[in-house]
Amino acid sequence: MKKTFQNPEDRYPTQPSDLIKEMLVAFGIAFVLIVGLALIFRTPFTPPVTIKETAQSDPLLFERTDMRDLMGTSALATYGPPYNAGPAQQAIGWFAPEQWGGVTNAITTSDLYVLDILRAASPINPHIIPLIDAYTAAASPQQQQWSQNYYAALQNAHVINGNVIVPAGDYGPVQGMMQAMLSIAQSGFMDSALNRTTPGNNGVYTYNFSRSILFLQGEALTNKATAAHLLGSDWGIAREEGSYPGPWWLMIYTFLYQIPPYSTASAGDLLVVLTMLGVFLVIMLLPFIPGLNKIPYYIPIYKVIWRRWYARHEK
């Protein structure tokens, strides 16, 4: 009744071997190599960027960023799903999974990065309250006018003792709001307030920094990344800081971002993801793909690997 099973290895002549000893030798080689590299080269570490540090080191950059969020012209404000309603930026005709995913992390930038922060700080600084009241009571065109005036004035602004000084103009309450926002951000209150109100963060478990990182994603992080040659057009994530090796195994992925149509199409990210899915399927199903599964037969590397076997059998 018992089926006789023959292990494929039993069909060939054998020689002594010791897999456990090989494993120990390999472990020794890997240990010396890895610990040696670690002790010689160490690892890079640049501390994270915070809103507090950004507002302190470059008050103008902070106010420009916050004004774009107030006016609704920042990249985040016009992103579409998953942050806000509106058309998905990534779509190939009707194929728009970004749209299908829906608004899952809803963000209204003017509320989240300006008005809600001011409201949260108003019990500590009651002078903020009339500013918010004046702004919210005004009609939308008036709000936009004040904001545009102030945003334009930032181009001619000066920083004195960490404060932004703009030429006199018709800014309504916006100038006062931005003065308040700047001091709130410089104190570190804005980082904390954003992370405290992020859904999922609760009490001692504050792990989700989406909201503060999305605020910083524009000018603040981009300027730093440009200086460190870490832009997507510089092979993005496949590069590490300085001369350290990065995740070079992602090079196929980041290579796609360097060439058309991926580098030029508005749905570039979606095209890259779909292509990488295709690449994985090809690798996974390689044994069954006619032509590709014959490549090893035509490139006789196998004859080098098994040269002793072939030498023995050609005698």
Partner: protein, 206 residues
């Protein structure tokens, strides 16, 4: 009680019989291998696994001591460096293993499942390293979080997997994906021992 003798009536016995039949101990831990197994390329897989073990051990130490330790203490920085370079060495050997198995057409004669499991090991290793690079806690991680979010947003899964959520990345990196990798590795090794080392191309014709 006769029914208990039927193989399907005692699942424990059925499993034992299956293992004894398809993967006897002398094939699981062989002290003899076919004579064609004599090339340094056979070390690539073992070296990949050895590096993997070192990455796991350094990672477990880091998880035990916590991020403040590995970012701001001298001893922690050494362990972080071992973890970082361990991953570099791991991928170096992994790709040598991948290409050597490809040029040996290692999927031949019933070994396609071993190759497919291996391709998933490659995929999950990349995801594991990706979540690791994004949980470094520094500027590099922040920058690549905001850069890579667009790819995940483009396929509409950010409500399910949010690369900007450090808690989710950390959980995936230190628990879920390593567990998947270890499980896939056990299956991969079991299949290799069950099917035996792939013979040279056209070996039986000669």
């Amino acid at each position: 009680m006769r029914a208990m003798n039927h193989p399907l009536m005692n699942l424990t016995k059925a499993l034992r019989n299956k293992i004894e039949q398809e993967l006897p101990m002398e094939h699981l831990l062989p002290d003899r291998l076919p004579i064609y197994v004599s090339s340094f390329v056979y070390m690539f897989g073992i070296l990949t696994m050895a590096s993997f073990i070192l990455v796991i051990l350094s990672g477990m130490t880091m998880a035990f001591e916590g991020p403040l330790w590995y970012q701001f203490s001298a001893a922690g920085a050494v362990m972080r460096s071992i973890h970082f370079w361990g991953v570099q060495v791991f991928f170096f050997f992994l790709f040598l293993h991948f290409f050597s198995v490809f040029f040996m057409a290692g999927w031949r004669e019933g070994r396609a499942a071993t190759w497919i499991i291996g391709s998933f090991l490659l995929l999950f290793s990349i995801v594991e390293a990706f979540t690791g690079f994004l949980t470094q806690g520094g500027f590099f991680a922040q920058w690549n979080q905001v850069q890579s979010k667009d790819a995940f947003n483009s396929i509409g899964i950010s409500g399910f997997f949010n690369v900007l959520n450090n808690g989710q990345l950390y959980g995936l990196h230190i628990s879920i994906i390593p567990a998947i990798l270890v499980l896939l590795l056990i299956i991969h090794l079991t299949l290799i021992r069950q099917k035996g080392v792939v013979p040279p191309i056209e070996a039986l014709k000669k």
